[in-house]
C-alpha cells in the first residue's frame, strides 16, 4: 500500500470518527430523554401539577414549583430586558471607542464568565440581607436578572450591529434625532435577533438552580407565592430537592419534574430558533 492510499484511508477513517463524535452528544441527549420519560412520564397527571409538596412522594406535586418558576420568569422579564437592552443600546450607539468603552466591554465579558453560584452569594448578601428583601421571589428575580444581563447585552449588541449603517444614516439625514433613529429604525430592524437572544437568556434563567439555593429557595414552601415578597421555590430546585431524597418515589417525581422543565426549555429554544430563521429569510438588505 503506497503512502497516498494510506493517507486517503486515514482521511476516510477520520471522517467516520467525526460522525461518531458528532453523534455522541445526540446519543447522550437521547439516552437522557428516554430515561427521564420512562421513569417520569407515568407520574405526569393533573394532580402532579396541582398538588403541594409532601413528605409522601405519590402525593407530592409541583404546584408551588411551577407557579414560582412563572413568577421568576415574569419578574426577570420585567427587570432583565430593559436593563440588558438599555445597556446594549448605550454601549453600541452612544459610546465612542476609547478607554471607557473598553473597560465596559471587558467587564461584561468577565461578568458572563462568572460562575452562577457567585451571583447567588452576591444576591444573598445584597438583596436578601442588606436590602432586606428576604428569601423572596423578588430577590430571586433580581439575581437571575443580573446573571443573564451580560448574555442579553452581548446578543443585543450583535443584533444592533447587524443593522446596516445606511439605514441609520438615512434616518439621521432626515433630521431624526439619535433616539428617534434608534427607536423607529434600528430597534425594529434588530428586533427578531434581539428577541432570540432574550429568549435564550430567559431559558437559561429558568433552568438555574445554584444561585437560588444560595438564597434559601430550597426551604419547604407549602403555599403559592402571591406577591413578589413571598417566599418561593422553582422547578429546578424542587427537582434537586427530590433527587437528594433517598426514597425511589422521589426519583420518579424528579424525572417527571424534569420532563416539565425540559419541555419549557426546549419550547423556548425552539421559538428562538424559529424567530432567527424567519428573520434571516425575511430581510435581505
Amino acid at each position: 500500500m503506497n503512502r497516498i492510499t494510506r493517507s486517503k484511508i486515514i482521511d476516510q477513517l477520520f471522517k467516520y470518527f467525526g460522525i461518531l463524535c458528532t453523534s455522541i452528544g445526540l446519543i447522550m441527549l437521547a439516552a437522557l430523554l428516554i430515561n427521564v420519560f420512562s421513569d417520569g412520564f407515568g407520574r405526569l397527571s393533573i394532580d402532579f401539577f396541582t398538588a403541594l409538596p409532601s413528605r409522601f412522594p405519590e402525593k407530592a406535586g409541583i404546584l408551588t414549583a411551577w407557579t414560582g418558576t412563572l413568577w421568576i420568569f415574569g419578574l426577570t422579564i420585567l427587570i432583565a430586558i430593559p436593563l440588558g437592552v438599555g445597556a446594549a443600546i448605550y454601549l453600541e450607539e452612544y459610546t465612542r471607542k476609547g478607554f471607557l468603552s473598553n473597560v465596559l466591554e471587558i467587564n461584561i465579558a468577565n461578568l458572563a464568565g462568572i460562575p452562577s453560584i457567585i451571583y447567588g452569594i452576591l444576591g444573598l448578601t445584597i438583596f436578601v440581607r442588606t436590602l432586606r428583601l428576604g428569601e423572596s421571589v423578588l430577590s430571586g428575580a433580581l439575581i437571575l436578572s443580573l446573571l443573564i444581563m451580560p448574555i442579553i447585552v452581548v446578543s443585543t449588541r450583535e443584533a444592533l450591529r447587524a443593522v446596516p449603517k445606511t439605514i441609520k444614516e438615512a434616518s439621521l439625514a432626515l433630521g431624526a434625532s439619535q433616539w428617534q433613529t434608534i427607536w423607529h429604525q434600528v430597534l425594529p430592524a434588530a428586533f427578531p435577533n434581539i428577541l432570540t437572544g432574550i429568549i435564550l437568556a430567559l431559558s437559561r434563567a429558568i433552568g438555574e438552580t445554584a444561585p437560588l439555593i444560595m438564597i434559601g429557595a430550597l426551604t419547604y414552601v407549602p403555599f403559592v407565592a402571591k406577591s413578589p415578597l413571598d417566599e418561593f421555590t422553582v422547578l429546578p430546585i424542587q427537582i434537586f430537592n427530590w433527587i437528594s431524597r433517598p426514597q425511589a418515589g422521589f426519583a420518579i417525581n424528579a424525572a417527571a419534574g424534569i420532563i416539565v422543565l425540559l419541555g419549557i426549555v426546549f419550547v423556548l429554544n425552539g421559538i428562538a430558533v424559529v424567530i432567527r430563521q424567519r428573520a434571516r429569510n425575511k430581510i435581505k438588505w
Binding site: 446596516p164 444614516e169 434616518s171 439625514a173 433630521g175 434625532s177 425594529p188
Partner: protein, 265 residues
Amino acid sequence: MTQIHSDTSQKEAQSKVKLSARNIFVDYGAEHVLKDVSIDIPEKTVTALIGPSGCGKSTFLRLFNRMNDHLEGFQRKGEILIDGEDIYHDQKHLEELRETVGMVFQKPNPFPKSIYENVAYGLRIRGVKDKKRLDQVVEESLIKAALFDEVKDHLKKNALSLSGGQQQRLCLARSLAVDPSILLMDEPASALDPISTAKIEELVEELKKKHTILIVTHNLQQARRVSDQTAFLYFGELVEYGNTEQVFTQPKEEQTAHYIGGRFG
C-alpha cells in the same frame, strides 16, 4: 483659497449665494481628507463635485448636513455657511439643519417598512399625526420623485420589494417630503441601470427649480449633463471650480484637463 470663484454667467452672478465653505480642513485621525477648501454655491443651481476616488468629495458633501459628525475620529476646521449662517456654530440645530438639507445616498437605503411609511417618516418624527396631511405629502413627494404612478396602488407594500431604481426615487421622495431647500446627492445613480439613471438625471433638472443641489458623481458625462457648476477635487484640495461648460471645455488647471481628458480619452 477664496481666489477660486465661480466663473459665472450673468444670470448666476445675480442669484444669491446659498452655500459656502470657508477654509475647510477635515482630518480623520491622522489622515488629512480636505485641505483648505473654499467655495460659494448659488441658490437653485446644480453643482457637481468630481474627482478620483478618495479625493474627499463625499466627505465634503457630508459636511453640509453634518453627517460626518457621527464618524469616528472626524475633525473639522473652517466654516460651512447656509444662507450666511455657520451650521457648525451650534450643536442644537442639528435636527433643524437636516430638515433644510436633504440627502440621497450612494446605495438606495429605504427603511424596511412600507412605501408610505418611508415617505411619511420625516413628518412622523416631527410629530405630524394628521392622516390627511400625511396622505397629501406622501402623494406630492412621490409625484415629485416621479414614482407615484408606479406605486400608487400598493403604498402599503414593503419598500424593499421595489427595484433598485424605484428604491432610489423613493429615497428621493422621502427627502423631499420634509421640503428641504438643499439636496445633497452622493453618487445617487452609481448603483443604477442606465434607464433609472436617466430618470434621476431628469429629476435633478426638474428639482433645481426649487432646490439647491449638490451632486457627487464619478460619471463625468453625468456631471456635464446635469450641473451648472463643477468643482474638481484632487487629494483633498479644490483644484478648480467654475461654470460646467467652461470646466469641461476650457479647464484652467492642468490637473483638471488631465482628469477630464483621461476620462474621456
